[in-house]
Amino acid sequence: MKYAVLASALLLSACVSVPVERKFPSVPVEIQAPCGNLQTIDPATNKLSVVVDSVVTNYTQYQLCQTKNDTWIDWYNEQKKIFESVK
């Protein structure tokens, strides 16, 4: 046991912690939220205006999600460029 302690002490005595530490880049909180579900239409309605309103809401939902996805792609590409600039 005492030899093991001595051996560990000797091994560790010649070690230093790695001096340069790199942090993973942070991501804006807004784009971390998942995309919402699409809206469904009240089955009791027969009004076209209600259907169109729901479709518009879902288009908006898609566009918000598309924007979020595009932002993730931009974020990844930009951060990758910055990461690779350190050599």
Partner: protein
């Protein structure tokens, strides 16, 4: 198995140095400079100052000892130089990492602004379109009745379930 794990942890988190580098880090540099100078002087003296009795009688021993010390001192001078070069590289890398981190934060801020701008545009468009729906609702509802089957199909598609 356990030993391998310990070695992996050490290798992951620590950069292990040889004994020579440990000595370089432990002792001040001037000791090696002094050793180099003294051994060099002693070696030269052992050849040149043979008129001095002590030197002439122990010339071989002085030459041998000073040659050994000179070799050791030269080795450690090299190690110091190598260590300094590595420290300079670490410092340069630390500066680069700091610049990259600042750039990364700046980029995040720009991306955040662009995202908010796009979201605002999408939401503003939705408001405009919904105002049009309100305006045209009476006309649309008078001309067209939507069948329950059509609504069921749309809801099935929106739910993404079979």
């Amino acid at each position: 198995m356990a030993w391998k794990t310990v070695r992996n942890i050490i290798n992951t988190h620590y950069k292990c140095l040889g004994l020579d580098m440990w000595i370089v880090n432990f002792l001040p540099d001037f000791i090696f400079h002094v050793l180099l100078l003294v051994s060099l002087l002693a070696l030269v003296a052992s050849f040149v100052l043979d008129s001095i009795p002590f030197v002439s009688t122990n010339a071989k021993a002085i030459q041998l000892a000073s040659a050994v010390v000179l070799a050791i001192a030269l080795y450690f001078e090299g190690a110091i130089s190598d260590n300094d070069a590595w420290l300079a590289r670490v410092a340069a890398l630390e500066r680069q990492v700091a610049v990259a981190e600042a750039k990364s934060k700046e980029t995040n801020t720009v991306i955040q602004y662009q995202y908010r701008d796009k979201v605002r545009t999408v939401k503003e468009t939705q408001v405009v379109v919904q105002e049009r729906i309100v305006k045209e609702a009476a006309k649309m509802d008078a001309e067209c009745r939507v069948s329950p089957e059509a609504i069921s199909i749309l809801n099935q598609a929106a739910g993404g379930k079979q």
